[in-house]
């Protein structure tokens, strides 16, 4: 018995030791764009879209697991591996697209900061610069371990969505039934929404961030089992949060009158009839998610680009040692935050553009990932087993199809 207990304690300790990369990546997936997508889905279609969360979770776990496995086995980041196996030109092309896509993502995050605080009548000319400076200092002046702790704490704040979902007193029975009952309608708005939900789930930057974070954390094949568990739990938690966001909006907005909402802050205001706490929690969640993603995206971009192209990278290097790294990191924040402050800047159009850039990039990344993870000289005994390969390729094909569809619709309706 005692032996069993100590074994159990050992496993818990190993799990805590690897906790971080998978959890954080999955949580950041619910950034301001994700929250908007889920809110809009709940506000317009109520509980109907809930069934997609289950397949989304599976797809998310499959892709994230591959990245963390590659990180643990090779000890190299994804852009490192792409560079080493596919050469400079492809890497350069991918990195250029990644910078473009992530820059627009960063804009969206700072826009999220602005709109969540405008609910409390704080001007964006105050909130956005403060957030930008705060983010810059957090990462440049902190070290990986302390920054990770801050990030893990930020992950906990997502609980606000669970609470606000409960405060709204939604129809739990309806929610439960719709979570497992697939519902398709030949309504173009509904299909667009479904594609949007899946499309925002797997972003190119996540794959780079997760793999680098696993490497940085020093996870090896020995403690990989714990790492895989961590990734899985993270992915499930993310979709639990998504569930409560949809449920909150369904209970508060859709059940009164289904309507289109234009940003996540509007969804927060929709919770007003259920008390100011519901609004407060929902917008606090949005603010947290935006700042969280705004801290990670520029950092992850600068890391991936510098690793892939062979420049010195890392916040533990001095500015004179890694000039390109700091230049990229700082510019992403300055430009991303700056444009939100320009009156009349076509922000919506930029965010649509970011979806297109993400969509163009994602197929390449996913295909490269499956190719890399099947290289025996890299992965040894850790290559994909056959059944997993089937699942991986199926995921890749589905994701590419959906993303291209999303890009197609975006281009036709949006720009």
């Amino acid at each position: 018995m005692r032996n069993l207990l100590s074994r159990f304690r050992y496993h818990i300790l190993v799990f805590l030791a690897v906790l971080g990369p998978g959890f954080i990546t999955a949580m950041v997936d619910n950034d301001s764009g994700g929250i908007y997508t889920y809110s809009a889905a709940g506000a317009k279609y109520g509980y109907l879209p809930l069934w997609t969360l289950l397949p989304i979770t599976v797809v998310l776990i499959i892709t994230q697991e591959m990245c963390s496995r590659m990180g643990a086995v090779t000890g190299k980041g994804l852009s490192d591996l792409i560079r080493e196996e596919f050469g400079l030109r492809i890497t350069f092309l991918l990195m250029s697209l990644l910078v473009l896509a992530n820059l627009t993502n960063v804009m969206a995050e700072f826009a999220g900061v602005a709109s969540s605080l405008e609910i409390f009548h704080i001007s964006r000319y105050v909130s956005v610069p403060l957030a930008a400076v705060g983010v810059w200092f957090l990462v440049v002046k902190g070290n990986y371990t302390s920054v990770e702790k801050v990030f893990l704490f930020a992950s906990v704040i997502y609980v606000t969505y669970i609470v606000s979902g409960i405060l709204v007193k939604p129809d739990w029975k309806e929610a439960a039934i719709n979570s497992v009952r697939p519902m398709l309608m030949l309504d173009s708005g509904y299909i667009y929404m479904l594609i949007g939900m899946v499309g925002t789930t797997i972003a190119p930057w996540m794959q780079f961030y997760l793999q680098s974070a696993v490497v940085e954390k020093g996870v090896t094949t020995k403690d990989y089992a714990a790492s895989r568990l961590e990734v899985t739990v993270g992915c499930i938690m993310t979709n639990v949060i998504a569930f409560f966001i949809i449920v909150a909006c369904a209970g508060a907005i859709w059940s009164v009158a289904p309507k289109d909402i234009n940003d996540a802050a509007e969804a927060a205001l929709g919770l007003k009839p259920f008390g100011q706490y519901a609004v407060l929690l929902f917008s606090a969640g949005l603010l947290n998610a935006s700042i969280f993603a705004a801290s990670i995206l520029p950092l992850s971009t600068a890391y991936s680009v510098c690793e892939g192209l062979g420049f010195e990278a890392g916040v533990n290097r001095r500015m004179s040692e890694a000039p390109i790294f700091y230049f990229l990191y700082t510019s992403l924040i300055v430009v991303g935050a700056g444009v939100v402050l320009i009156p009349g800047f076509p922000l919506v159009r930029m965010i649509l553009l970011s979806q297109v850039a993400n969509g163009v990039l994602l197929p390449f990344i996913l295909i490269f990932m499956v190719l890399l993870i099947n290289k025996r000289e890299l992965m040894g005994e850790w290559v994909n087993p056959r059944w997993f390969n089937l699942a991986s390729w199926a995921t890749v094909v589905i994701m590419i199809g959906l993303t291209l569809a999303l890009v197609g619709i975006t281009l036709r309706t949006g720009v």
Binding site: A17, T74, G75, K76, E84, L88, R89, K222, G310, E312
Partner: protein, 415 residues
């Protein structure tokens, strides 16, 4: 001699002409045979028809940027991979190498070779490994613009490269490493802290390769300088137990105990079994103490004398402990039962006569802590009394070990 150098990217797809000036194919790769010559391009791989052909360096007449490679002998053998060949395109380009003088890990963008005419033929010799933006530009533009145009264009960017002699290729496979004549001798002359920085930048397999082949003493110094205890442990775990034991024996016992306590018991026992008996007992004793107590911090490298000993005795004792001299600053006196009675600052010996008693030179107050004293208290002691060395005693007052200032600095750094 305007064109006395050639970039590897320029060599790629350069036409190869036979004796009559007819083109038989294009250059696909070039290879060194380090066993034969460390820098001379020994083989050119030519692709034309179905198979690749191998051109030996002595089958070449001339190499020019404009005309390509002209042969002096057409008896070409089909290419087959041989393990004595270091192929520039496959094994070097886009891979990470160690810059020995710059003391960092860099990624190879291109290779600069010199062309020398030895009377009969042009010989290519690898001169520099290119790592900067200039070489990235060259790679990206190759095939888009003509070779001379790219050369003109790149003038604007300052070159960034390292001399081939100071570049160290990292090869994880021990057999291939042997055949390619790759050694890590150059790394052994580096400062251990620099070597540790380099090792931290590499992937686990490469780390292992380096520790596996460098001298145990150097490896021990470098391993002590690796900051992350988890990484230290995983490096040792990846080595054969005999090699790991050799390294651990060379480490200071307290550091060795710290690393071993990070490992799973099974593995650390395996390593301990391989160790010589004397260092093994020291390390085993230290392993008994909790990491965050004085016992966990202390090491057993100190010089101790009987409390009636004279300065001459001390001198004799020091002669027997020359390996400790670099860091030693205090001597300790014990009574018949092994209890600590006095501490002597080493510098006082210089002012004393040979026959005078050591006791007379002792510090006025004897500062000491017990093995179970907390880490925080010990740190406080060092700060309050400006200590360099602090003796640690067991419950009976017997000297168990000493804590030195560098141990305290490590503790503070890790916070």
């Amino acid at each position: 001699m305007a064109d006395n150098y050639l970039y590897f990217t320029e060599l790629l797809s350069m036409p190869v002409l036979d004796l009559t000036g007819r083109r038989i194919g294009r250059a696909k790769d070039a290879a060194l045979v380090p066993m034969a010559h460390p820098a001379r391009i020994d083989r050119f791989l030519v692709g034309g028809g179905d198979t690749w052909l191998t051109v030996r360096y002595d089958q070449v007449r001339s190499i020019t940027l404009v005309r390509g490679i002209q042969l002096s002998d057409e008896q070409l053998l089909p290419y087959h991979d041989d393990e004595y060949m270091l192929r520039i395109g496959r094994d070097l380009l886009d891979q990470q190498i160690i810059d020995v003088t710059g003391r960092k890990v860099v990624r190879v963008n291109d290779v600069t070779m010199t062309i020398q005419h030895d009377g009969q033929r042009d010989i290519l010799t690898v001169a520099e490994v290119d790592i900067g933006i200039r070489s990235i530009l060259r790679r990206l533009l190759q095939g888009v613009l003509t070779r001379p145009a790219i050369r003109r264009l790149q003038q604007a960017i300052p070159p960034n490269s390292i001399r081939w002699e100071f570049a160290n290729v990292v090869e994880p496979d021990p057999l291939r490493r042997l055949r390619l004549n790759i050694t890590y001798d150059k790394l052994e002359h580096m400062h251990p802290a620099d070597l540790a920085d380099i090792v931290e930048d590499l992937a686990p397999a490469e780390r292992e390769a380096i520790f596996d082949s460098i001298d145990s003493e150097v490896a021990a110094d470098a391993l002590s300088e690796v900051e992350d205890p988890k990484m230290q442990a995983s490096i040792l775990e990846s080595l054969e137990p005999e090699k790991a034991a050799d390294i651990v024996e060379e480490m200071a016992p307290d550091e060795a105990a710290d690393v071993l306590s990070e490992m799973e018991e099974e593995t650390s026992e395996e390593i301990l079994d391989e160790m010589d008996s004397e260092p093994k007992t020291d390390v085993r004793e230290l392993l008994e103490f909790a990491e965050d107590t004085a016992g966990g911090l202390m090491n057993t490298e100190y010089v101790v004398l009987h409390h009636n000993a004279t300065v001459a005795d001390a001198m004799a004792a020091l002669k027997g402990n020359e390996d400790l001299l670099e860091t030693l600053n205090t001597l300790f006196l014990i009574d018949e039962e092994g209890r600590l009675t006095a501490a002597i600052p080493l510098a006082r010996l210089f002012l004393a006569q040979g026959e005078s008693r050591l006791q007379a030179l002792a510090s006025e107050t004897l500062l000491q802590v017990t093995v179970d004293e907390t880490q925080d208290r010990v740190t406080e002691f060092f700060d309050k009394y400006n200590l360099l060395t602090l003796p640690v005693v067991d419950e009976e007052g017997k000297l168990a070990g000493v804590i030195t200032a560098d141990d305290i600095i490590s503790v503070l750094r890790q916070k």
